[in-house]
Symmetry: C2
Subunit: 420 residues, 2 copies
Amino acid sequence: MSAAVVEFLVTGDEVMRGLIADTNTQITATRLYPLGLALRRTTVVGDRGEDIRRALLEISVRADYCIVSGGLGPTADDLTAACAAQAAGVPLRTYEPWLEHLRRRWAKIRPNETMPANNLRQAEVPGSAEVLGNPDGSAPAFALRIDRCQFFFLPGVPREYHRIVEEMVLPRLVAATGNAILRSRILHCYGVTESKLDELVSAVREAHPEVRFGFRTKFPENHLSLSALAADAATAEASLSRVERKCREALGPFVYGADGVTFAQALGEELARRGETICCAESCTGGLLTQLLTEVGGSSRWTAGAFVTYSNDLKHSALGVPREMLQQHGAVSEAVVRAMAEGARERSGATWSAAITGIAGPDGGTADKPVGTVWLGLCGPPGTTARLAKYRGDRGQVRLQAAYGALQLLREALGPTRVP
Amino acid sequence: MSAAVVEFLVTGDEVMRGLIADTNTQITATRLYPLGLALRRTTVVGDRGEDIRRALLEISVRADYCIVSGGLGPTADDLTAACAAQAAGVPLRTYEPWLEHLRRRWAKIRPNETMPANNLRQAEVPGSAEVLGNPDGSAPAFALRIDRCQFFFLPGVPREYHRIVEEMVLPRLVAATGNAILRSRILHCYGVTESKLDELVSAVREAHPEVRFGFRTKFPENHLSLSALAADAATAEASLSRVERKCREALGPFVYGADGVTFAQALGEELARRGETICCAESCTGGLLTQLLTEVGGSSRWTAGAFVTYSNDLKHSALGVPREMLQQHGAVSEAVVRAMAEGARERSGATWSAAITGIAGPDGGTADKPVGTVWLGLCGPPGTTARLAKYRGDRGQVRLQAAYGALQLLREALGPTRVP
């Protein structure tokens, strides 16, 4: 049996005109690809009835499955349900259970207002459709067969769309592969290129065809996704955990976490477990490292704060870096990064302090210290360490790599996790 | 004459599988829409010859113009040039001037190596194509007519793609509108909703049909794009500057800058003009404000640095906020934000200091001070001011709005730019 053909259809003037990005299909594609389905085409059209109907009917003879997003709302430019009915050659009908659901929902949120008549439109679905519902919104998803293709119509709001994909569409597509259950894990790696990552796990992949491997770069990280399909949950979970263990062995210290945790968060949680804290001393990264540590909720458990000492004056007054040292060695030097780290630790009382000073560009480079030259420092209970790094890329890339480099110094100090 | 129909075709397995996002068409759509062209469809297919040929031939009878991206590189999965030739029914030919260009380019970059034979493939174009070239890369863009449609084939690398669109494709599409010249300006606004922005400029828009208006939200900013089409440059520029002036009058202090400048950058450049500097004192924003100030190259001219005082201990030790004040008023209070601002200014010697302390969520809110409660402070030559803000949204949105709010306090202090 050849793989089932899957397409996406995205509707909406705002997407067509570039006002909003279609992130729905991108994320969904990374979920569907490991199933072995043949993702063949994505089509984007605006809010024009003839364009939507034409696209539906073209897809209806090309694909086995199609996920359609957008155009299910209550306003006049929400045409998708009507176009779906017209393309299928069936009338619209009002789905009474959903109407009742909408009325109860409205009464709960706004008990003193009458529901606008517009909202009733959202209970209208093609006569032959199977209503799937929507746990988070007022427009119900529905499934509809047109010719050889099974369509899934979903609201375009990303939060609603993704939950419906996960809970209602994926299980149906998994079934189409001849399996019943899908279990996935994403291993987040730092310090390894995508091609090296691929090479390190290739033996595991070849030995375990029952688990599908996928790769994705999220600079400067690389992620490995593992997907196990099976007839039952126990088999899928056993395959997944066996292969995950072997991949973690093959990848060693490159793996820092799994399933959405950020690099800074993984380190922060480890600090919190130990009852320790960190304070940063940043120059060229200008607050980026601290921002990575604090963007996660609950980060006050591990972050004391930071001294962003962009100017030499502030390096001296806020961190106690001697003026003569700055003059003699320059701000981008081992002596200064050590003094920054030691000053930040002493003045904050944090367990650890990470320091960064470098040349992020585009200006400021010299023959001796070109753009991308960064000194990283760490001060903590075992003492102070420093490392010289030379990064490539533009200002944003140099800054991001420097912030990761400082976190990696901390990671090595916390355990045997040195990355080559 | 009805508007010319334009489509996009994106090729590449990496886009189809969601490994990389197609940002090219989104940005291009916002450039094309003001031309009054009818953007009717975007199609994304993987690296399969039959899928690419089929898409080209379908588009060839539907559209007047189509921009195709991807698949022009030197590797085996770069199929687009061959598929274009097959769809047009013409052979591939080697375009000698480009081959010569590639050889010279290689000799310059790697004088001691022979150019791989693979690279020669990039000089092969469909026999009937007009070669447009590529100022930044090795794969040349080309134009090709198939049936009723004029296709433009572009490399998918964003930097190369966008330059070719701007310099080679846009002028040809402008000509298709019956005009010769397009001049655009984007006004960046802060403090105004998209619907209010629309309302404020509606009279100008109605009085000036010769300029097209477009809107785009980039949270928490809103941008207004103005596009003037005319037969000659002088007319286009005159229309544009007349309408820009009227829009700036209608929008008053909401406009902070134009054409890509960031909010923090606009304020930073104003500080640099005055020979002044800023230091930040951040609590709940955790370095985000400083990060916005320093992500721009050259920001050392206006940023002294920052004290990110996440913990109360650090608010006391690094900024001198009295412990009794923290205990009596709490960290999120007017007294503390004023003390933070004053401490940061005094200890940094900067002209200005901006302070932020609040509850970003998801935890930490109380009945008195719910999530989104933020105190903003500013200390400078005229003294210290403070403002209480209540933001909606998730942790990331609260933090971003708080950073903008602090910058807005500075903006008001620098000039008569109070936003209602």
